[in-house]
Point group: C2
Chain length 443, copies 2
């Protein structure tokens, strides 16, 4: 931005207490909803003007859904809220001693601050070594991966170099958590049902999908049954699953594994993990493992009026001595309770401690296949797949999005088609600019 | 592309005659369809891997439709065709003396060549002066304009500079043809029904929409009735229509008109006209006004086996002494007849001359309002609007797209909402790179 001086956050002063929420993800949205017209002034900041339904990003990346269907414009979600302000901006720093944040559009004071910035792709300190990998945390990244996958096949037809052709048809996914498993399954489905119709000139027997996981099993956050089943399902899609294996390096042409294997591939999907999307300014002593330590009320230790919820918050409990998992349901439940607790605080009532209600977890592995862990019951297959679809459809924010996603799923299921396989890379792709791109802001 | 040497167009040789079609627009698609399994080898080239339904681009730009719903993946459209090849590439040059084209992925010989490259934005030789304007011919451009419009309001809230705020809320559209009128109408609707709910802090009385047209009337390709009605409709949306006025310059901050008026505006939508998307290599004598002169069989003059259809072709007739209009129906009818004529040629039968069947023309101006000119009957208003919607819905290629567009229209109509108002500018916007961006190719 050239003339930062002309911009200011411009929130009117109010007699009400001001709550500033950083981040419009699952936690931030639930909190904002809970605070609707409760006598606070609420300011929500986000780098995007939309909420992203991250669990379905992988379907955007694999041409199953349009990006617009998994995004909810934040202003729309919060349209009928009184004394509520949205600002599209990035936060540079928190200045807790002044009860103030510094953003790309200026400084803002708060009475209560809630950090709900979520997580970002975790390269485990090796950003440089993996700067050509494809992360999958934001809609522009999903669109970029979609373009890459399709472009690979267009190029595979045109190249005269046999080795290059193979490297265009090899896909490596690192990380055997839900995202990795789901991307691998979706690619398997593309290979089996969709792409061969489009690219008759290519031999799809030679399209190889590798899923590399450092742990000895897939879906290590779920049950052994789920791990085993997901492994079996991926095998049916001819996905090569490499467990207990680490990806050492990727130069855009070759993926190096720690067992000495070198896979020629131009596409490494990075689903190896996330870490807190840390903001500067808090005392070092409240930060651990890239997350902010909070007590059972989601209050940041040693600050009176600073809270953190969702992936960025590290909240330990008896059942989770290493902290609650970084999952949407945790963020949503924390957001909901924190809204209630802030109202309690206002009325002088005692806050309630957070208790995570684990409703279970699930992952899908292509057409008709999913694994579901509920309390006391674990199942997989077609019924699990329907449960997965129903739960996700109900969780997407907004009726329009539900409608569009549902229509697409029906279409994809019955036609074995993927409607959105467009290569849209409006600007020159320049790997050197990639890091810059991820930091793009409104101004 | 770094290693162009590794790429080749790789079309297998065939005993059949090879027809090369450059461009997968309305004309190219109709031609390909007409040639389906008729004993030719057909090669279709396009810079994108999808067909764009250009008449609805303005709805993508104004957040009414998702881009995927007006695009049809070309490989999908042509999936069941025998001896048919699609290549995503740009053509550098035609070498007619060798019956050959030179593309970004190598050279290819043809027996028959059909140029169906369509048109591009016409800056009337002043590209440099208007390099900050927003053209509207391709999907990435529509997405860029959508981001610009929404970002303007985000910034308008944040700026402390009153003049800048006004310039963010002023929109100037140059060109009073169907695209200009439709963009103005859609912006008028956003102003009236959609944006005030999102941006309660802004005064939308002060959002100004200017439509600037050099001719003394709007929609000069249609009837006087249509011109008058569209003018009246735009007035109801408070669009300021300036007829007989030329835009002289735009520096990204101010729009200068030839009547001396200077409009502070950061957004100039360029809908002032199109010109042929010319390819090098043809003799100068067959080119006129940026188009390729063809005879009544769409054969390029003085070449035996080179044809041109659609916007790029300049075909004069008794009713159109200056050439047929650059419209989708002309391109489609020409593509259809050329397919037939190429089959005739193969069988030694005489080709049929082209006769344009003008089914009428229409334009929409926001909710419930459209103008329609049919042979002998001209009407406007609600019924015209339904006719407009029906015709466009039926013309979109693919059932999935029809379904998604129809759902969106229902949604938009009944909720006064626009579902897709996302700011997605994945990469840094850099006006200096804009010209480069428009030339982006697969490799």
């Amino acid at each position: 931005m050239q003339n930062n001086l002309n911009y200011s956050i411009r929130i009117p002063s109010s007699t009400k207490k001001r709550i500033v929420i950083i981040g419009g993800g699952f936690g931030g949205i639930q909190l904002a909803r809970g605070l609707k017209n409760k006598g606070f002034q609420v300011v929500l900041l986000d780098r995007h003007n939309y909420h992203t339904f991250q669990p379905l990003l992988y379907q955007v990346a694999t041409a199953g859904l349009e990006p617009d269907s998994i995004a909810g414009p934040l202003r729309k979600l919060l349209q009928h809220y009184k004394d509520f302000y949205f600002r599209m901006a990035l936060v540079n720093e928190i200045i807790p001693e002044k009860n103030m944040i510094d953003t790309t559009i200026g400084k803002l004071e708060y009475d209560y601050l809630v950090i709900a910035v979520g997580s970002k792709t975790n390269y485990f300190g090796q950003e440089e070594r993996f700067d050509k990998a494809f992360p999958l945390k934001q809609i522009p990244q999903a669109l970029d991966l979609r373009s890459q996958i399709l472009q690979n096949f267009e190029k595979a037809i045109m190249t005269t170099d046999k080795e290059e052709r193979q490297s265009l048809k090899n896909f490596v996914i690192v990380g055997g958590g839900p995202t990795g498993v789901e991307v691998a399954g979706a690619l398997g489905e593309l290979k089996m049902h969709v792409l061969p119709n489009d690219y008759k000139e290519l031999d799809f027997e030679k399209m190889n999908i590798y899923l590399v996981e450092g742990q000895p099993r897939l879906l290590s956050g779920m049950s052994e049954t789920a791990s085993k089943k997901s492994y079996d399902f991926l095998k049916r899609f001819n996905v090569t699953v490499k467990l207990g294996t680490i990806v050492k390096a990727f130069d855009g042409k070759f993926v190096h594994l720690d067992d000495g294997m070198v896979i020629p591939s131009q596409t490494l999907v990075w689903a190896a993990g996330v870490t807190g999307n840390m903001i500067d300014g808090l005392s070092e002593e409240v930060i651990a493992n890239g997350r902010i330590m909070v007590d059972e009320f989601n209050k940041v230790k040693s600050y009176e009026n600073v809270f953190a919820i969702g992936d960025i918050a590290l909240q330990k409990s008896k059942s989770f001595p290493n902290g609650l998992p970084m999952l949407a349901p945790v963020a949503m439940q924390q957001g909901k309770l924190l809204a209630k607790n802030l109202c309690h605080l206002k009325k002088g009532k005692a806050p309630l401690p957070f208790q995570y209600l684990d409703k279970g977890s699930m992952a899908t592995i292509g057409r008709n296949k999913a694994v579901v862990d509920l309390k006391g019951i674990k199942f997989s297959g077609l019924f699990a797949w329907f449960v997965w679809m129903f739960v996700h459809l109900m969780s997407i924010i907004g009726f329009r999005n539900k409608l569009v996603v549902f229509s697409n799923w029906l279409w994809n299921y019955f036609t074995y088609d993927r409607g959105t396989r467009l290569i849209i890379r409006p600007f020159i792709r320049n790997p050197e600019k990639k890091k810059q791109r991820e930091k793009v802001s409104v101004i």
